[in-house]
């Protein structure tokens, strides 16, 4: 009967990955069709590198993702450490607020951020009239990054909090007792303990940022269009197989990174276990 359970897992995997597999296979298809296979070619990969709009959107998406996930990780980690020190009721209240961007439908977040930026623009305009300054901002890179940081921070907090709870608080006090300054104690004791949570939060916010369409749709501007929006604009005419090629490349890169991170974690865990055994 065990083959039944194993084949069930195989079926589930196939169901999950079949679309991606089809996507990758058709990136080598000779014709533009997504239904009929006419021949093997690398043309679409070559064309991808000369298609300026797609490349520019990809660069925009990557830059926004990197900046927003780094800032969100910093903010989120600091927030998580602060929240874990709060009293029970304040902590519960703050955690409820943290959950809001996750539970909220993305379209609500997107529209409200857009309205916020528009009203900020008009507030700046009246301020400029009063004070004679000339501050202003356009929808574009700045608004995109701010919006992405906003919806990424909760994911980081949610990833770091469990690690903080698992950590023994007395280890930090022991470090202080043994002569560390608070900053040294943080960097040498606390941070390595919560690092897996911080990294997981970083990866998660990077992924959400890369993937985001609805919120970016509302807050992007005339100068920085992200990749999902570019792909969406192609849908009146035809989504070119260059997108298949690009998706295949992204998939392979993500797969390699995930494998590397997981293998690294496994290796470190094995080392720790052997060290612990060695000590005993």
């Amino acid at each position: 009967m065990k083959w039944l359970t194993k084949s069930y897992v195989g079926v589930v995997m196939a169901f999950l990955y079949a679309p991606i597999l089809v996507l990758i296979v058709f990136s080598f298809n000779q014709s533009k069709s997504r239904g009929a296979w006419t021949g093997f070619t690398f043309d679409w990969y070559k064309k991808l590198f000369t298609n300026e709009i797609i490349i520019q959107s990809l660069i925009n998406t990557l830059i926004v993702a990197v900046i927003s996930s780094v800032v969100a990780t910093l903010l989120g980690t600091m927030a998580a450490i602060g929240i874990s020190r709060m009293k029970k009721y304040t902590r519960a209240a703050i955690m409820n607020v943290t959950y809001l961007p996750i539970i909220n439908p993305e379209i609500v977040t997107g529209v409200s951020l857009m309205l916020l930026f528009v009203s900020a623009q008009s507030v700046l305009k009246t301020l400029n009239l009063q004070l004679g300054t000339s501050l202003s901002f356009d929808f574009g890179f700045l608004t995109l990054v701010l919006a992405h940081i906003t919806f990424n921070v909760p994911y980081v907090i949610l990833n770091v909090m469990p690690k903080l709870r698992q950590m023994d608080n007395y280890v930090y006090e022991a470090a202080l007792d043994l002569g560390c300054s608070p900053r040294q104690a943080f960097y040498k004791v606390v941070l390595p303990e919560i690092m897996p949570g911080v990294l997981a939060g970083f990866l998660m916010s990077f992924t959400y940022s890369l993937d985001d369409f609805i919120i970016s749709y509302f807050v992007s501007g005339a100068t920085s269009q992200t990749l999902p929006i570019t792909i969406y604009s192609m849908t009146r005419r035809k989504v070119s197989p260059e997108i298949n090629a690009l998706s295949a490349i992204i998939f392979v890169v993500v797969l390699v990174v995930l494998l590397a991170v997981n293998l690294n974690d496994a290796r470190r865990e094995r080392e720790n276990r052997m060290k612990a055994r060695g000590r005993l």
Partner: protein, 416 residues
């Protein structure tokens, strides 16, 4: 350490990608090169917002219009795209984004003019406008041509697979309601185009003015729903080329692209008439670089640029100077450039009144959610059944727990 590595890797990748994307440039012959050099060395940039895949961008050995413009004028172009007129309208209305050139469709332009969202063009800066054929001047969406300059035009017609459809059935919109082809018919998935087909079949104007007209059209479309395989836009390409569907209404320019790939596909404009559309370039209010924007529009009207665009996009060009440069095989193709008697039966879309717009949205939602196949009570009944089941299971569980704890309590009392 790990983060530094990631940053530098991404930076290198970005540089590599942007380096690879430089292509060889051809010089464009323009009528008046002096006009284009006015803004040299000033570091100006303009924001252009256009449909996706709607400009010759250098792929397939075509002219890279944006690069040529940047080289000629030293003005940087930030090129972004949109998928529907409604999306463009929402972006302009929202007030956040600042575009210098936008290229909406006719009815969207009419609406934006009425709401004061477009700037009047300074025609002294667009001398190439003389290249536009008089057939496209003074049209109903911009009667005095003050706000827009035509970019492409086309008609909507029926694409059909000659091997799957009998020749005697074609010629009118009735083909889309023909039960012989049940399950092989595709329809537009946007309300204006879809309702226009139904209205034309009924002989009503494509711009409905009364609810009764919309109601008739909705009923007709509901009748058609069982025959329709799917309501699609871009999926039409794959479905027609793959032979999954036999009949689909779509834009002439895309029909040409499909027919080039599959000679079994044919195209006709129905006898009842059809929709003619124009996509035109306009300048929204609040743009920062009006003269640079007008320079870009003028560049689009250059004969070589117009010809390159028409050949790349596939849609018809309103630019007579560009047509002179194009391959006669294209300019005499009746699909892209139908004869005057066919044009006479076409209607432009105009902006609908707000009540009609709302009504149309409502009817469209009603159409999409109609399902004749199963009763509308199915889902509420299933939900009630689930709620009843969940409540009764919970009640049973609590009574069982209480009964068990009573038993245990009694048992303990007896022992202790």
């Amino acid at each position: 350490m790990r983060k530094h590595g990631l940053f530098s890797l991404l930076g290198c990748a970005a540089l590599l990608l942007s380096g690879l994307s430089q292509t060889a440039l051809a010089e464009v012959d323009v009528a008046d090169p002096g006009y284009y050099t006015r803004f040299q060395e000033q570091g100006i940039s303009i924001n252009v917002h256009n449909w996706g895949e709607y400009i010759s961008d250098g792929s397939d050995d075509s002219l890279n219009v944006i690069k040529e413009f940047e080289n000629l004028t030293d003005i940087k172009v930030n090129y972004t795209t949109f998928a529907t007129n409604e999306e463009l309208y929402a972006r302009l209305k929202g007030g956040g984004a600042a575009y210098d050139v936008v290229i909406p469709s006719d009815y969207a332009i009419a609406r934006m003019i009425r709401e004061g969202m477009l700037e009047k063009l300074d025609l002294e800066n667009i001398p190439n406008r003389v290249n536009i054929s008089s057939d496209f001047m003074n049209q109903i969406y911009d009667p005095e041509n003050l706000y827009s300059v035509p970019y492409t035009w086309g008609t909507v017609g029926v694409i059909y697979n000659k091997t799957m459809v009998d020749e005697e059935d074609i010629g009118s919109w009735d083909l889309l309601w023909n039960e012989k082809y049940m399950g092989e018919i595709l329809m537009f998935s946007n309300p204006r185009d879809a309702f226009a087909i139904a209205l034309q079949k009924l002989g009503l104007p494509v711009n409905p003015t009364t609810s009764a007209q919309l109601r008739e059209a909705t009923e007709l479309m509901k009748d058609q729903k069982l025959l329709v395989q799917a309501y699609v836009m871009d999926e039409i390409f794959d479905k027609m080329l793959g032979g999954e569907a036999a009949i689909a209404p779509y834009y002439a320019g895309d029909a040409i692209t499909m027919m080039a790939q599959d000679p079994n596909l044919g195209y006709y404009v129905p006898v009842e008439g059809t929709n003619r559309f124009v996509d035109a370039a306009a300048i929204p209010v609040g743009c920062r670089q009006k003269e640079a924007a007008e320079m870009f529009i003028n560049f689009l009207l250059e004969p070589e640029v117009g010809a390159a665009n028409a050949e790349y996009i596939g849609y018809s060009s309103p630019n007579t100077a560009a047509l002179a440069l194009m391959d006669p095989e294209i300019t005499e193709d009746e699909v892209a450039y139908p004869p005057p008697d066919v044009i006479a039966k076409t209607e432009f879309f105009v902006e609908l009144s707000p009540e009609m717009s709302l009504e149309m949205d409502k009817c469209w939602t009603e159409l999409l959610s109609t399902d004749e196949q199963y009763s509308k009570w199915l889902i509420p009944m299933v939900m009630m059944a689930c709620i009843v089941a969940s409540v009764s299971i919970n009640i049973l569980r609590t009574t069982r727990k209480r009964r068990d704890s009573d038993y245990v309590g009694n048992h303990r009392d007896r022992i202790g």
